[in-house]
């Protein structure tokens, strides 16, 4: 259908208009054709009517003449004037009928009608003659006239004259009936075609409309889902921001609190020392006074402790500040992304603690991951080093320690699990262990409470996340999620 292939090039709206226009045209054509056929049928019916009237009039004419003849015959036979009634009425009606015949006869047959008229006149004259004779009592003369057969000859002539007329009329009737039947059939066909065209085009229009509506609905659905997606993303970002904000608040609280605490000691014990000066001065002022001597001795005895606490406190503040600075520095160090074979890196981490592990009577295993990742190597070493260190540090007494490392790829991320059967972490401490300078559980191992805080910060910098599940007394599992490729890298 290359003839109509240009239709497909048109935009949908124009196409519909084109279709509808052609529909209207086709329908107009069909309606026009039908109307024309109807006109034709009217004509034909008119013709039919005329022809029918011709036949009718012709037969009426003949009928009237026969009636007249019958009257004449009767009168001739019986001389009863009653028989003249039909004759008279027939004679009267004859002209009317003839006029009717003349009117309905086609122009071609006007001559025939003329001739018939003449014959009819002659016949009626003949009949009249016989009736007149009979009226005057000359019955036998009348009968003789009839016997000549003139009347019969006239009748036969009349019949044969009218025959072609009636034949032609009959032919017309038949022809017109045929034509009408044909016309009606055509009208039916045209109407049927019209209906078909309407149905077809309605169907096409409906299809096009439905397609358009579907297109609109699809677009709406997409917008809606994009909207929802957007809202979800906003929620995610907001929750991430809220979380980060909460952490900063917590961090500020912890830092201010942890710095204030040693300060209480510094202030306290300096005041204590200051307070110790007075009794000592009093003693020097009155050296012989034993009570004052006792007072001075007591005061002095407490001074070394005070000094010790002051030193401890300032030392603690120094360590705290260093730890914070270290965290800040780590946060600023530029990450160097490179291809890292996880198995090689994790084996290195395990190697570093192998000695402690064996000493503790435990075992540590790596299930080969065969995974690669693009990330900062040093950061990864620190993260997993810390997790493995913790696992070794917080083993449970009374059962052989088992530490296992494994990994898998999921949805464009890498998931590494460090699992142990150590002492576990209580549910209320699951967030606490990540907090700076905070620890949980039995405090029988050295530590500042910095490790996991640092690890989490680092994992976040690597674009990942760290989660923790644990059962107190059973074991702990850390899951580190990392993107396959560290964002912002020029590699890969």
């Amino acid at each position: 259908m290359s003839l109509f292939s240009w239709v497909n090039v048109l935009p949908a709206g124009r196409r519909t208009v084109l279709l509808l226009a052609s529909a209207v045209l086709v329908l107009a054509g069909l309606v026009g054709a039908s109307l024309w056929m109807v006109g034709e049928t009217y004509n034909r019916t008119g013709e039919l009517d005329r022809a029918q009237r011709v036949l009718d009039s012709a037969s009426q004419v003949l009928g009237e003449i026969r009636d007249a003849e019958t009257g004449q015959r009767g009168y001739l036979l019986t001389q009863d004037p009653a028989y003249l009634d039909p004759y008279r009425s027939a004679a009267a009606a004859l002209n009317e009928q003839l006029d009717a015949l003349d009117a309905s006869a086609p122009s071609a047959d006007k001559g025939v009608v003329q001739k018939a008229r003449q014959l009819i006149n002659a016949k009626m004259l003949e009949l009249q003659r016989t009736i007149d004779l009979t009226k005057n009592g000359k019955v036998s003369e009348a009968i003789d006239r009839v016997r000549t057969g003139r009347g019969k000859i006239l009748m036969d002539d009349l019949r044969s004259t009218l025959l072609p007329l009636t034949d032609r009329a009959r032919g017309n009737v038949r022809a017109n009936l045929e034509a009408t039947r044909a016309n009606v059939t055509w009208i039916a066909i045209a109407t049927g075609l019209g209906a078909l065209v309407i149905v077809l085009l309605t169907g096409i229009s409906v299809i096009l409309s439905v397609r358009q509506i579907r297109g609109l609905e699809a677009a709406q659905k997409e917008i809606r889902s994009l909207n929802e997606g957007l809202e979800q993303r906003v929620l995610d970002r907001t929750s991430a921001l809220t979380q980060a904000n909460d952490e900063i608040q917590r961090f500020a609280y912890i830092v201010s609190h942890d710095l204030r605490s040693p300060l209480v000691n510094v202030m306290g014990f300096t005041s204590e020392i200051e307070a110790a000066v007075a009794p000592i001065e009093e003693h020097f002022a009155a050296p012989e006074d034993d009570k004052k001597l006792e007072g001075a001795r007591t005061a002095l005895a407490e001074v070394p402790d005070s000094l010790k606490f002051i030193r401890q406190a300032t030392g603690r503040m120094d360590r705290l500040i260093n730890a914070i600075l270290k965290l800040a520095r780590e946060g600023r160090r530029e990450l160097v992304p490179e291809h890292v074979k996880l198995d090689t890196l994790l084996e290195g981490v395990i190697g570093a603690v192998q000695h402690q592990v064996t000493e503790a009577g435990a075992e540590i295993k790596l299930a080969p991951t065969y995974l690669d990742v693009v990330s900062d190597r040093i950061a990864l070493e620190q993260v997993f080093g810390n997790l493995v260190d913790n696992a070794v540090k917080y083993l449970a007494d009374g059962r052989p320690g088992r530490i296992s490392l494994s990994g898998r790829r999921r949805f464009g991320k890498v998931e590494i699990t460090v699992e142990d059967n150590g002492r576990g972490i209580a549910p209320q401490d699951l967030e606490r262990v990540f907090e700076l300078f905070r620890r949980a559980g039995v405090q029988d191992k050295p530590g500042e409470g910095i490790g996991l805080a640092h690890t989490r910060a680092l994992v976040r910098r690597l674009g990942g996340n760290i989660t923790l599940t644990s059962d107190l007394g059973v074991g702990t599992r850390f899951i580190v999620e990392l993107p396959n490729v560290l964002e912002g890298s020029g590699v890969g």
Binding site: Y253, H257, R260, S261, P262, L263, V264, N265, M267, G268, F269, T270, S271, E272, E302, D305, F309, Q312, A313, Q428, D429, R432, R438, R439, A440, G441, V442, Q443, G449
Partner: protein, 150 residues
């Protein structure tokens, strides 16, 4: 300080991780004239095992009188945990708990009172005030009646 029945001294349990603070508190309590036994703990775990005893139910302190000085910021747990546990145990819940801590966060204070703390004192950095507060506490301790535990 005395308790409802004479002859049964009140034991002061001090849960404070900072040794310096513990020293300062003890010195000032003694200066206030309070001579009761003072049992210090530097972390929550050991304090809880002392308070709840070997059976973990606190029966060891039934029929005894305790006063608990509690710092909220302990290295291995939050002091709020200890407060909750103490006030939930039938044997030791009557023991007055005095919360001493550097936090002056209103929410924290409310929360402690809601959980049943009897007194909340903020450790000020200003030593004068701190010493005064402890001494007042000592005086306070010397006159209050500490109920006996069930």
């Amino acid at each position: 300080m005395s308790d409802q029945e004479s002859g049964m001294p009140v034991e002061i349990v001090m849960i404070e991780d900072d040794e310096g603070h513990a020293q300062l508190i003890e010195r000032n309590i003694r200066r206030a004239g309070v001579s009761n036994k003072l049992t210090p703990f530097t972390n929550g775990t050991s304090a809880l095992s002392y308070l709840f005893g070997p059976d973990g139910q606190g029966t060891v302190h039934a029929k005894r009188s305790l006063l608990i000085l509690l710092d909220l910021n302990l290295p291995d747990m939050s002091g709020v945990d200890i407060l909750t546990k103490v006030k939930a145990n039938v044997h030791i819940k009557r023991s007055p708990v005095v919360v001493l801590t550097t936090t002056d966060d209103q929410t924290e204070i409310q929360r402690c009172y809601d959980l049943g703390a009897n007194v909340y004192i903020t450790k000020p950095v200003n030593y004068e005030n701190f010493a005064n507060a402890i001494r007042q506490l000592g005086l306070f301790l010397s006159v209050i009646q500490v109920p006996k535990n069930e």
